[in-house]
Symmetry: C2
Subunit: 335 residues, 2 copies
Amino acid sequence: MSELRKDPVSRRWVIFSPDRAHRPVDVKSKGEEKIQEEVVNCPFCEGKEKIAGTEILAYDKILGRKPNTPGWWVRVLENKYPALENKENLEKRAEGIYDWMNDLGRHEIIVETPNHFIQLPDLTEEEIEKVLLSFKERYYNIKNNPHIEYILIFKNYGKEAGASLQHSHSQLIATPVVPNRVKEEIKNSHEYYTFRDRCIFCDIVTQELSSRKRIIEENSDFVSFVFYAGRFPYETWILPKEHASNFEDTSIEKIRSLAEILKKTLTKIQKALNDTPYNLVFHTLPVKMKDKEYFHWHIEIMPKTTRVAGFEWGSGFYINPILPEDAAKILNSVE
Amino acid sequence: MSELRKDPVSRRWVIFSPDRAHRPVDVKSKGEEKIQEEVVNCPFCEGKEKIAGTEILAYDKILGRKPNTPGWWVRVLENKYPALENKENLEKRAEGIYDWMNDLGRHEIIVETPNHFIQLPDLTEEEIEKVLLSFKERYYNIKNNPHIEYILIFKNYGKEAGASLQHSHSQLIATPVVPNRVKEEIKNSHEYYTFRDRCIFCDIVTQELSSRKRIIEENSDFVSFVFYAGRFPYETWILPKEHASNFEDTSIEKIRSLAEILKKTLTKIQKALNDTPYNLVFHTLPVKMKDKEYFHWHIEIMPKTTRVAGFEWGSGFYINPILPEDAAKILNSVE
């Protein structure tokens, strides 16, 4: 049972989730030895469907497979230690000068492969395509809930990036308010559009494709590059080349193309940075907004090679020790 | 030589500082053994003044002490690996659609004690008072520079909090723009004041002192409490009880009182959480603003017991596994 509280100064919501303190942990720091016996207790492994959270969606390998049994490519589960829960009623109240809400929302796990020892970039393009299609399918399913305002899809890889289980997975959290950082991105891109009559992200894509100083990968539909002003060393963005504001409306053909660039980009990052922990986050429009000319969905990949310190927490300013042009050279040097 | 680049979407500035990748590191993770020989190379130890950065200010133990020699309580140094540097001219230019600035600013180290093996909460109140007075003195000195818009004072303790050297120290970074998070706090508190004709922080202090559910320490001038909507477990704020917008205008008498509550609060945190890494950040008005009825300076202490993950980076929403009331009980249980 969680609750949401709002910081009246920053206007940021915080989810207080005491149950999550009890969730199982098997992830290791980079360099720590991986212990074979962990696989015995991993709830995401094929054959362990009974101890995992309830299955919401699966792409089956075996025709006529029953839910919560082996024989799948990708499985979406209810998180057993959810930050937010599927509830009927959204409750809101004041606590003196503070604001409070109940924990209505969704918290799902996308298990990307039945195999404990393969990570996302090592899957085939066809397998990654299935993972991306499951995101799209869950997105469409959840967006009909009238209380849901935003759906955030993300992946934490490695202990330093906040992962608790090592079996390859992504997460989906649906929230009853639009998060502040999303509001900020939308407001700022809207202002840019008002000023220039162009999408700021389209301008970024054009400039990156023209300068080519920071490009990592490119195919017919997508481009990935180290971001000009990334907070973190090697911070890499993937954007559709053609303007598109909603991830969930990406066509099946383009999902295949996204799988290709995601695999190639993550492989370069993992090879060049020696299997570094990273966060990967989808940025898309809030569920009740559609086809905006000023917003452009994208993926941000943030390798965690440095630590965030007091200066960053206090200012929102970041210190990054590697110039993006140099980071791009390093990522592109791997074969 | 650093440079500043602006993210046109979030409008956040990032300092790119390749030289900082070469700074010395001796800090250990919690639990790792502290090695005696580190003291031999520590540039902040008494007797090592020649290898430290240039001395800007010192409070002397020895009458007639010469700069950069032993015999001091507190010493303020130029950072040898600065994120920003003391320069004459602020340069700004466009890089296509992006914005660029040179690295004008200040980056100073406040060495809090000559002793390598004592940390801030273990100093006497008189010694902590000297540390706080040095902050105030540097603040007054730097604020006259017409290019400086903000002065951020902060402390990183422990590897997980981003510290690189273990010898007890704080840092000061002066920036040529007001950081986004500061702008946001000021804008939001201003709006609250416009709506209610009261300072939001004064309201928070009143409610905390009345409910007493989250109080950690209190004296005649200050109160510390676990924040109602803290991003991090045990996040604790220290505020002056009486409205005051600028830290640097705190009277000498109140600085003594601040030293007392800071020592007691940090001691509880360090005892209850077993010497946990933490960030401590001063929040005060930008240098060109003064005596605002809607802003209230304060200190935020953020122990680092959890890791920030993709959900937080993507949304600005935080997940905190410990209710502040329970965290306050745990902090208050130590003797």
